[in-house]
Every structure is written in C-alpha cells, then in structure tokens.
Symmetry: C2
Subunit: 637 residues, 2 copies
C-alpha cells in the first residue's frame, strides 16, 4: 500500500557506494576475482553443478547463499536505479543457477556435486534449507523488481520438492533447518503466490522445531552425524532447537540463526493471527533488547557459537556482534513493528541499523567487519587467541562471506523499513529524505520528507494530495529523544507520544506541512548497573548514533581515558572527515603512567596522576577507517 | 649445609592436613578409589605394564607422573614425620613401578602398554621425558628421605637408556622434551651422583632447545605427528621451543612448561657458572614478574595454551593461573635466589606461595583448583564457554591431575625454601616458626624462630651455639614491608636493607636474640596503569597475603562494590573462620540498582546511586571454602 523513494544525503552516499562499488566488487568476489581475498567458489560451484565445468565443490556447504543475497541486493537496486548491464549480469547468474537445478526441483550445489544420495541427511549442519531460503528470497525480490519469473518458477519447483520431503504426512521427514531463514522466505513467497502450501510449510518448520523427540539427535543417530556442540554450554540451543519455539523465553544460541527464526515466527504469527506465537516473539524481543543487546544494537556476546550468553553479559572486547546478527535484528524488529507499531521495535531497528550494521562496511564499500567489537586493542587481537576473531581492520572478504552480501541486501532495501500503514494511519518509523506514497482508502497521498538525519533532528514533511484526505500521520519520537517540537502548517502543536509515536489526525490537503524538530544533543548514556562489564563506565550518543574514541584522535591506552564529571560536549560538522560526520569534543580526563616505570607491576599507596584531556568522539560506525588502532565505546567515568 | 625444621601455627595446620588427608586421599585417587572423581588409572597402568594385570592404558599419556609427584611428597613428609605404614605403601608403589621397567631401562607405561616401537617418536607432545623427570625427582627425594636406592637405581638405569638415545653424538636424537622437567630432575640426580653425564644430559636438553633446524617440525615430518598449535598465536612458542633459550626474552607459551624450563636453566647456570644462561634466566624472571604476573603470583593469562600472552595483559576473569604454574614460579624463584640472594626473587616466591599455591587446595585438603581466577561470577563459569575452565568451587580430582600432587610435594618440602647459606652469610627468605641449623665453618649454630607470620609481622629469633661464632645473619625485608624495627638482644639496631635483606654481622653467642618487627598494615595496592584490566581498580593486601571480597560476606554484584577514598581498614583475628584467618573490614561503597528496573539496558542522564558499605575481606587463598559464590580481588576505586 505504501511506496518509498529515498533521496537522502546520508543514505545516498552509502547506497551509491554499495551500488557502484559493493555490488560490482562482490560479483567479482563470487567469481573469485579479488586478489588476496579468501576465494568464494560460489559461481564456480553452480557451473560445476550445471555440468558446465568440472572440479570439486569449493568453500562452505552454504556457499550458494552468497549469490542469492547478492541477487536480492541487485534486485533492490534495480527498483531505484534501473541498470540494464547489471540486470543482464544478474540474468546470467540466474541462468547458471537454474541450470544447476535437478529434474526433481532440488538445488544445492554441495550435494549435487558431492552426491545426491546424502541430501536431507544432515539438516542440523548442512544448510540445504538455509540455501533454499536465501534463493527463494532472491527470486521473490528479483521478480518484484523485474517481473522476470525464471528464478521464481525454479524456486516454486524447489519448494514443491521440499514439500515432497518434509511435512506432517506419514513418511515425510519431520525435520527443520539447522539454520533458519526459509521460514521468512516462504512467507515472502506466500505473499506473492498466496499458495497456502507455502504458508503451511513455513508454519510446519516453526511448529515442528524443538518438539520431542528432538529431530537432530534422531538424525544424528540415523546418519552418524557429528555434533560439535556436544558437552558445551549450548548443545541444541545453538540451533534454537532445544524446545518448542513457543516455550522459548530467552534468546539463546547462534544469534543470526536466532534472529532469522524469530523473524520467520513473526511473519507466521502476523499472517495467521497466532497469539501464542506472537507472545513468544514479544518475549524473545524483550529478552534481547532488555537484557542481551549491546548499545550499538549488536548481539552475540560470545565467539563460542557466535551466540547469546546470559542476561547482562555484554563483554565489549571478546564480543562476537556479527554484522549479520544486527541485520537480522533489523528484520525481526521490522516484523514486530508491522504487527504492532510500537516505538520500542523501531528504536531497536534504528539502533542496529545506524551503528552495528553500518560499522560492518568500510566507507569505500570494499572491506567488511564480521565482528563489531565495542573495545579494541590491536595487540590483543594479534596475540590473544580469545580475541583473534576480533579484527582491528575490516577484511576484503571471508571464507564464510555471509555479512557483505547481507549488508548489501539490507542497505539497498531500506525503503521497506521507513513506513507502515494500518488502515488510516501512516506510521513513519525511520527518518530519511525522500517520498512516501500511500493510499488512504482510494486516495493517493505523498509525503515529501526532508531531513539532515542522523546529523540533525529536523524533519520537514510536505504533503501532496489531489483531494483533502483524512488520515492519522504517526511520527516516531525515538526513544533517545527527550524533547521535541512539532509544527503543522507553521503552527506549534502540543502532542504526547503514545507508544513512541505522535499522532496527527486531521484532514490533510495538498501543500500541508509538518515540521518535527527532535532535540539531538550529545548525551551521556549509562548501562544498567547489572551489566558488570560496564560498571563505572559511560558512553556517548547523539541522536541514534553511538560514538566512540579512537586512538587516532585520542592517543593510545584508551583504558586510561575518563569521561569526567562535566563533559561539556561540543559538536562540529566535518564534511571532509570519514565521508562527512558530526564529531563531538568533550572535556575529559586522562590518567597517566607518570610515576610508574615499566618494571613495577604492583605498588602500594601509589596514586595515579590525572590530567584534563580534550576527547574527540566519532560515530561508531565510522571507526577503523584510518588504519588499525585502539577504539572504545564505553569509557570510564 | 643448612637444615630446617618447621613448627609453625600457620604451616603446621596446612602440612598436617596434607599429610593426614591429602596424601591418603591422593593415594586413593591414584588407585581409582574416589567416588565421583575422574579416574586416574595411574597405578593400574603400572600393574598392566608390569604384566600383573591386563587391559588398556588409561588416562593421559603422562599419567605416570602423578604417582611420581605423590612419592616425592611422601618422601618429604617422611623426613619430618616418620611413618612406617606410609613408607611401606610407598615401597609397594615403587615395587610396582620398578617391575614395569624394561630390560633396557625404559619406563613409561603409555608406550610399554601401547607398543615400544613408537617410543621417542613424539617428544613434542608425548611426555616421555617429562614422566622420566618426575620419576627421577621422586627417586632422589625418596633416597634422601629413606636411604633406599631401589627407585634411584632404576632411574639411573633409565637415564642411561635416555643417554643412549639422545645426545650430541652421531646417530643419537637431537631432541628435547615438549614438556620440560627432566632438566631440573637431572640436576638433582647430579647433586647426589656427581656423575658429569647427568649434568651433561641436562645441559644438552637446554642447549639444544630451539636450535635451527627446529626439532619438532622435523619430528612431525618424519613421524606424521599432528600439531594442535598450528596457525594459532603460539605455534612452537607453546613449548618454548621456537628459538634457543639464550635468545628468549619474553616468558611465552604454556606457563608450567616455561617455568619448569627456566628452573632447569637456572640449575644448570648455577652448576656451570654459565653467565649467558644466567642472564637469560634473569631476563625471563623480569619478563614474568615485571609484566606478566598477577598480584597473586599467578601466571598464564590465557586458557588457550594455558599460556602467557603479552605484556600487561592480565585479565582477572578469563585467566588461567594454574596452581602448578605458581608452584613452578616458586621453584624458579628459589633457584634464582640460590644463585643471587636478592629479595626480588624471594618476594615473587612468597607472593606465589601464600596466594595462588595455597588457593589451589581446599582447607580440608580434599579438593583442588587447577585454575585460580581473580574474579569469579559463578553464572559465567556455567554459561560462558570462554570461562568454563574457571570453576567456582574446587574439584575432587582431575583427569589431568598435575596440580594436587604438585601441591603436596611443594608444601611438604617448604624446608628447602626457608634459608640459603653463602659462606658466612645465612639468608633467611621465608619466615615460619621452627629451627634453622647451619654450619659456619665447622661451628654448628641453630636459629630458633618464632613468628605469627603471615598474620603478624613479628619474628623472634634466638640462637643456640656451642661457641661464639661470627657470621652474617641476613634477614629478608619483604618488598611489601614499608617499615620495620630490629632489636638485637633487646637493643634497637638501625639497619638498611640491601637488595631486600638486612645484614647483622657480628660474633654470635648462645642465647643471643633478634627481634624483627615488620609493620603489617592492611594496604591498598594498585596495578601499573599499563595493566588495562585493572584501570580504575585497586586491591587490598596485608603482609604477603592478597585479600579478596566474597559474595558470602559482601552480597552479590561485586562489580558494584567500590573501595572508597578512605577505606579505614580494621583487622580481626577470627580463629573459627576458614581455619583461622585475619579478616579485614573497610569503609567502602556500593552502587545500587535503584532507579534501574530489569528492563532498561541503557538510559541517558540517569545516575547510579551509591551507598556506604562495610566491606569484609578474607585472604585470597581461603576463598571458595563456603560454597560457590562471587569473588573479586580487584575492586573499583
């Protein structure tokens, strides 16, 4: 019902970088044409599976999903920037992919190359349903962007094959994916096809998950599969497959799997009005955002299992915080928002998007973080094995390259996250420049949005409508915003936000204007005292952006830097710095090593000298764009 | 030249516990008679190897060493508490051990049971020389305690066999142990035998270590052995076998291996007046004590490789801090002290002994810590994989049970660490009650020591001597001691410590007395600001003892407890608590969760409430004797 066009200073730079640099770069990566980067083997695997080339399968067993995510991202860019050459490249990729599909509809290069007799024998770890899910999402997006059905039809055939293998009927497997994503994908397919079989399959995977007797141990027993997580702290919770999803109260296990699953659950709950499933989603959302999420919207406290750990356990330096997990948190939050427009969901979505998601990509679009730490000492990344997963600089590519194309598909489809409509109410969730078109009843209306967000808190909206139209314009007041003013057609309006939104209900006519001004001072943020890693520390935010200190601006030994009691923040727009950022300076303190030689580890009654120090803060997402250096988000007070 | 008898309130309790509880308990463990404990298989392996029983080898390949360390401990107790029954048990163990020895002198149950054709093919990981080393140490100690040569002669035969395999001569292996200990052992054997071949073999292993081409990769290539540390941060540094020992500047790799190696190096350096080797020992000692040691005398910052990491990297919660590593630090420090009586060595020895070593054993002598953390949150030990090696309570036994018998052999042989003599100077390093007998020239003298150490700083010494005898009584002024007074025969004497010792040079006669009073206030200790984990934190010590806060006394959430600016320490002797300890109370602060519900992770401009709180500190070594609970050494200031 709504359509969004983005024309926004902040996002256009990023999206154009993705379109002009990221997409061609990643196409090269998928074809193993990047020097000094881990090879992908992705397109080669499809050519081998299609019989056009020979050789062994290369890379991980889920390598197929990389081109799927890339195709999905390409489809989104084609919606806002038609490009015949790119579309031709995508078509050629689809040709190769579909050529690999088997006569019965099956498609997974790992098993096609290594032997179809082994397919569907290790759902727990072998990612066939995951790969299928990503390819279905690509097919839907590509069909929506281009009207071309080749991949879509292939995926409908694949789903038919999957339905012949899985389902409640006798003789079919009662399994479900070790790595969710197909649940979301089937729901997107269902949106187009309206084929109840597609909804039913998604629901089957969700309902079946974690039912006793657990499928994965049975599968292991039957096929002799290994179990990496045995005797660890996670076991089947790694897969969120330890108990039925409606009984899961805490976000556990591999954080990307978790959030893909919860997103699929939300889709099914919304489509089927399933109250118990919706309640499970709400509980899990609260588990994450109230007790298990970093200030940057990152999740996954531990590298072990790339997983959630326990309440308030949020170490800043050994963190996992995968880019994909925050992308998936955006997915989940948006789906919750679609069910129930509550600002808490939009706040989490915005927090993840503007901080960890953006941090995942270098400003030039060519290097990526898998792990997004909140505290980095480069020496520790090199010399401490338990921090080796933390990199002090973004990498050109990864053997397991889930994050770069995932970033592409999110950043190129931001249109989907800006607005939702419920009958006569238009909820604006994210502020970015551009147009929002909607139909209220049969009346088309368009909101023209101008804003300097996230650097400035002013949002100006003007309305185009052929006829005067009554509707409720619900504008989000972000959780971070303590004060705001609202003018409608130049007149101040007093409003009170309800569940994170102010509602302007009126009969709107062409040329009406709304000015929302969100106060956006730099502010000191503290963590709940239960977060033991952040005791005695604070962070700085401005608007939706988390800020950090880098060694580059503040010298080494950031553990000796302190916020001070009266930071006196000053902000400055620096167009030449880091692609253009608002920097913050503050009056802080720096403890020194004066009086401590390098030979004395411990001393009695010896003080630590403290000097005033100007601190310079940059947005977290832009860190590590000037070489490897120390970085900290949480600073001692 | 010196002989020590210990009669000391503090140590007698511990040593009697070890003698009456620990030694019988561990004998049961070696014979797999402890319920609910990991089986040892140790004695069974010897019976199988001796052909008296059949079955496979059980446990680790170095399991033989457990009985060796136990025997060594038994030998020490027999020196200060003859016990025919225990000696008969030990004799029976020796009978079984020697029965397993092969005709050519070889002895290692793992290879005897699994096939002698594979012996000496994996020095890197298979511990044959390590097991031999411990057995040699046991043999020497048992011979010294009982005069019985059965095990000693067997070990001399084993060394002959080893010499037939290893050495500079053509055709012999140029290898060295993956886990050092045999170097120290051979030097102890050499002390008794004065056979230069024993010294030469120790020197060969030390000189050969890390020479190019590296032995371990050659051995791997020849025998196809695996390499667990490949591509990690350690590689051959795990074994301290990455470069020649004289070129090693930083303490690296597995911390127990490192300290056993350095101890052997110090032995050889002293016996051979090898200045370059001595210089290497000094550098490595400084690397440890100036940059890589915990306040508790623990070492090994990382569970990965149970290893040293890098300078000033001393995490308190993910620490390894193996009991054995601090025992080995005592060995190394004592050997440095024997070469050069400098208080820095005695300080490190005392720090390790009174804190991490003692922490390794429950007060009842029946449970043990392998890992000695400085900060524990029991929930994290259970739920965070990277802290799973940290236990919140001592364990009954370990599959790899190196620590418990190592503790026994150190605690039962403390006599060796009290005093050294250099010509006419008697250096007293550790203060404990008892008698120190020495010969100055031909004159026997005895110092009768009375002290309440480590609870009180008073040390009273009275002298017995048949004739007036001139010598220099050098009493250690611990590094922790800021003030002291000295009286000789009741008269105050002004002295200045030199390199950690005050020297009282006079002609002593029978009945002379010395009163040393070391001021022992509770004190605040800070870490070097370069130790980033301890920024903004301080610890409390009194005398040689590090103190800690436990949840039991101070409530949960110890991360919210603060030292406060003016702690006003008060001490109290509590004879009923934890086997009798001096507790400390202080005026601290406690941050509260007031104003923070459990649902708000982050908030802007919200303060943290602080209340005064009386803190109760107990000695670190006694923690976790009242059930699993939170504990912290470093407290926020």
């Amino acid at each position: 019902m709504t359509a969004v066009t983005i024309r926004d200073a902040f996002w256009d730079r990023i999206r154009e970088t993705v379109r002009l640099e990221g997409i061609p770069y990643q196409w090269k990566a998928l074809n193993d044409e990047i020097e000094n980067a881990a090879p992908s083997y992705c397109m080669r695997n499809f050519r081998i599976a299609a019989g056009k080339e020979s050789g062994p399968h290369g890379g991980f067993m889920f390598q197929d999903s990389d081109v799927a995510k890339w195709l999905e991202g390409v489809a989104y860019t084609l919606e806002w920037h038609p490009d015949q050459e790119l579309e031709a490249t995508a078509d050629s990729a689809i040709d190769v992919i579909v050529a690999a599909q088997q006569p019965d509809g099956y498609l997974d290069t790992f098993y096609i190359i290594n032997g179809l007799d082994k397919r569907w024998t290790n759902l727990m770890d072998c990612h066939e349903l995951y790969v299928a899910g990503h390819m279905i999402e690509a097919a839907v997006a590509y069909y929506q962007a281009t009207g071309k059905r080749k991949l879509l039809d292939a995926m409908i055939r694949l789903v038919e094959h999957i339905r012949s293998v899985f389902g409640p009927e006798e003789g079919k497997l009662k399994g479900y994916p070790g790595h969710p994503v197909i649940e979301m994908a089937l729901m997107r397919l269902y949106e187009i096809t309206q084929d109840p079989a597609h909804l039913e399959l998604a629901r089957f995977f969700i309902d079946q998950r974690g039912q006793e007797p657990l499928y994965f141990p049975l599968e292991r027993k039957k096929h002799g599969n290994g179990f990496y997580w045995e005797n660890g702290v996670l076991e089947y919770a790694y897969y969120q497959a330890h108990k039925p999803v409606r009984e899961q109260k805490d976000a556990v296990g591999h954080s990307v799997r978790a959030l893909y699953l919860y997103s699929g659950m939300a889709d099914v709950a919304r489509a089927t009005d399933d109250e118990t499933l919706k309640a499970a989603c709400e509980r899990l959302f609260e588990s994450i955002t109230q007790r298990r999420m970093y200030i940057t919207g990152a999740v996954g406290s531990s590298e072990y299992g790339e997983a959630f750990t326990f309440d308030y356990d949020l170490p800043n330096d050994t963190v996992y915080a995968e880019t994909c997990a925050s992308i998936a948190l955006v997915f989940f939050a948006m789906r919750m928002l679609a069910m129930n427009p509550d600002g808490r969901y939009a706040d989490a979505m915005e927090r993840a998007l503007y901080n960890t998601v953006l941090s995942g990509m270098q400003l030039d679009g060519k290097r990526f973080f898998y792990v997004n730490p909140l505290e980095v000492l480069p020496e520790a990344c090199a010399k401490d094995q338990r921090k080796r997963h933390v990199k002090a600089e973004r990498q050109p590519w990864f053997g397991c390259a889930c994050c770069p194309p995932n970033l592409i598909r999110l950043v190129t489809s931001l249109e989907k996250y800006v607005v939702t409509q419920e009958n006569e109410t238009l909820y604006v969730h994210l502020y970015m420049g551009g147009d929002i078109s909607a139909k209220v009843g049969d009346e088309p209306v368009t909101l023209h949005v101008q804003t300097g967000y996230p650097w400035e808190g002013g949002v100006n909206i003007s309305l185009s409508a052929e006829h005067e139209t009554a509707f409720d314009l619900a504008l989000r007041i972000p959780g971070w915003c303590a004060q705001y003013t609202l003018h409608v057609n130049g007149e101040a309006v007093e409003t009170q936000a309800e569940n994170g939104y102010i509602h302007i209900r009126r009969s709107w006519k062409n040329g009406d204007s709304v000015q929302l001004a969100l106060d956006m001072p730099a502010r000191v943020v503290r963590a709940n005292p239960r977060v033991y890693e952040n005791a005695g520390k604070a962070a700085v935010m401005r608007g939706p952006l988390v800020y950090c200190l880098e060694e580059q601006d503040n010298g080494a030994n950031l553990h000796l830097v302190r916020m001070g009691a009266d930071p006196q923040f000053a902000t400055q727009w620096q167009p030449e710095l880091l692609g253009g950022v608002v920097t913050i300076t503050s009056c802080g303190l720096r403890e020194t090593c004066d009086g401590w030689d390098e030979q004395t580890l411990y001393a009695c009654e010896r003080g630590i000298e403290i000097r005033p120090a100007e601190l310079k803060w940059i947005p977290y997402y832009a860190w590590a764009n000037r070489g490897a250096n120390e970085m900290r988000v949480w600073i001692r007070t």
